[in-house]
């Protein structure tokens, strides 16, 4: 059963895993405060400066699943997987203009979640619930996918893929994660992120230096990848793959980048990492420094092509990176890389469960079940929910086919972008009415889900060639658009039209000055 285990790699892996476990528990004493207060447990007391925020958000956004999934798309179909690069380029100028405002108003009014802001800004419990529900719904499969990333590297260590004990290592890892998140709250992933991010940088830089040296430069790598895509198309004429984009991939490439960028900072875990910052200036500084991780992600994407050049042949593209690492590195360093990826799953999984727990406590339980909660009760409920969310994610992996989690993750992005109008427009104007945004949200959710409902599988993009007029424009490529973007455009139109005729406005507890932060050093 464990005859195939690579013990050298496993020992290195377990060493680093044990190290971050100790850090996770010790983190409760870091910047010591009363963790029976939700702002302390769930937001680190908003005391993370520019450096800590950089490590935390970097560790939180560039997840283990990303490290496995992006190169797997590149391995399978090539250039299209690189959409992650324009996606992460366009996001930072946008964040620069919006997040300091959200941080300022949240700091001033004590908001912990997007739902808190919506409730204060629009005075509309229905919209608050919609925002909270969407966040939790989209986060659950995302946590499950972190487990997929972790499981891929555990399998690569040689542990069995089938049988009664196949999921045992994963379950143990996740129980440990659940315990220190329960104890230390956001401080645990913030502290572990330092270790994780440094490990990932070492691992990626090593790959980018070693692989081209061993394979004779980048030229042969792209040539080998080109041949692999040609072979794929030869065996399946319907397949689209290549070192550059095919004409029908251009529309999806662009719109997927835009839609994904709009969705990312609507996720509870992204906002949790942001609101934990100590100042608006710390956030601005991060919009200039976080692109370092985007560059890293671009290099990680290229590993999909390096795998072809190194002769890695796998049926599941998600095994491409682990197998590449085993092939090019000595066992001990492969173990180090696998530990980096697995720890890379722990940080986002922890922040996601904390973000979902904060959201459930503040925007579902407090307004609808018990409005008289004390801070200690809030903190206790959030800790409990963080455990439940993690058990749920583990159950998804243990009992439901992985494909289902992948499909839900795809839909999660389509759903998450539907709260964009309420949150982002709300930072700049109160022209939109709460109920109008709620109806727009519902329209976007239904349309986005319906568009994604393919006949055989869930689909991400929608060809528009059949629509009169739209299909007539010759843009040099077939127009196809990411469902999330299409749905949010309809969402915005509906919200705009209804707001124009809606006369009653809910209470707004915020003032114009709340959105401006004093520009002091981070």
């Amino acid at each position: 059963m464990i005859d195939n285990v690579n013990w050298t790699a496993t020992i290195v892996f377990v060493f680093f895993f044990a190290l971050v476990t100790v850090i996770g528990f010790l983190a409760s004493r870091w910047k010591a405060a009363d963790l029976n207060h939700l702002q302390e447990w769930g937001l680190g007391g908003r005391r993370f400066g520019a450096w800590i925020t950089w490590f935390l958000l970097g560790g939180d956004l560039y997840t283990a699943y990303t490290v496995i999934a992006i190169p797997s798309v590149v391995y399978a179909i090539g250039a299209y997987g690189f959409f992650a690069v324009p996606y992460t380029i366009i996001i930072y100028p946008f964040l620069y203009l919006t997040l300091p405002r959200l941080w300022a108003v949240s700091h001033k009014r004590g908001y912990l979640t997007a739902g808190d802001f919506i409730a204060g800004r629009y005075g509309d419990k229905g919209l608050e619930l919609a925002v909270a529900f969407t966040g939790i719904l989209a986060t659950m499969p995302y946590i499950a996918l972190q487990l997929v990333g972790m499981e891929k590297v555990i399998q690569a260590l040689g542990f069995p893929r089938e049988g009664a004990f196949a999921h045992a290592p994963l379950t143990i890892a996740f129980v440990i994660l659940a315990l220190y998140t329960y104890k230390s709250g956001l401080r645990a992933p913030a502290m572990i992120a330092f270790v994780k991010d440094i490990m990932i940088y070492i691992f990626v830089i090593a790959v980018v230096i070693v692989v081209p040296v061993e394979l004779g430069g980048f030229g042969p790598i792209f040539d080998a990848a080109d041949k692999a895509y040609a072979a794929r198309i030869a065996s399946n004429p319907k397949a689209v793959a290549g070192v550059t984009l095919a004409s029908q991939q251009i529309g999806p490439y662009i719109t997927l980048a835009i839609g994904s960028a709009m969705a990312l900072f609507m996720y509870p875990h992204a906002l949790t990492g942001t609101l934990a910052a100590s100042s608006g200036e710390a956030i601005r500084r991060n919009t200039m420094t976080l692109p370092a991780y985007s560059f890293l992600l671009g290099l990680i994407a290229l590993m999909g092509m390096m795998a072809h050049a190194a002769g890695v042949k796998v049926t599941n593209p998600q095994d491409a990176v682990p197998q590449l690492l085993l092939k090019i590195f000595p066992d001990w360093f492969a173990g180090f890389c696998f530990a980096a990826i697995a720890i890379g799953a722990l940080v986002p999984a922890a922040v996601m469960s904390i973000g979902a727990a904060n959201t459930f406590t503040r925007n579902i339980w407090k307004p609808f079940v018990n409005s008289q909660m004390t801070p200690a009760e809030e903190s206790f409920l959030a800790k409990l929910v963080s455990l439940i969310v993690k058990v749920g994610a583990l159950a998804v992996i243990l009992f439901i086919p992985t494909q289902f989690a992948l499909d839900l993750q795809l839909l999660g992005g389509v759903w998450m972008v539907q709260i964009f109008p309420a949150v982002i427009f709300g930072l700049f104007t109160r022209w939109y009415a709460g109920p109008a945004l709620l109806i727009g949200w519902a329209a976007g959710m239904i349309l986005g889900t319906a568009l994604s409902w393919g006949t055989t599988a869930w689909v991400a993009v929608q060809p528009l060639g059949y629509i009169p007029f739209v299909g007539k424009f010759d843009l040099g490529f077939n127009l196809a658009v990411y469902n999330g973007l299409l749905a949010v455009i309809v969402n915005i139109m509906v919200a705009t039209i209804i707001s124009a005729v809606w006369s009653r406005q809910g209470a707004d507890e915020t003032q114009a000055g709340d959105y401006e932060d004093a520009r002091v050093a981070a």
Partner: protein, 58 residues
């Protein structure tokens, strides 16, 4: 000027047909890849300059 600096890199990043080619290659890397990778630090520097401008003229 601040907004030009913030939006110009985004527009270039989204103009996929502009950079969707193999040539010119850089050290064996096709244009498609090195151009996008290069745009990442360029966009970060643009945000930095935009922020300097915003600080100078609040």
């Amino acid at each position: 000027m601040k907004y030009v600096l913030l939006f110009a890199p985004c527009l270039i990043a989204l103009a996929a047909p502009l950079y969707n080619s193999i040539d010119p290659t850089l050290a064996g890397v096709p244009f498609f890849y090195w151009a996008q990778l290069l745009l990442i630090p360029v966009s970060a520097i643009c945000i930095f300059i935009a922020d300097r401008i915003a600080k100078a003229r609040p």
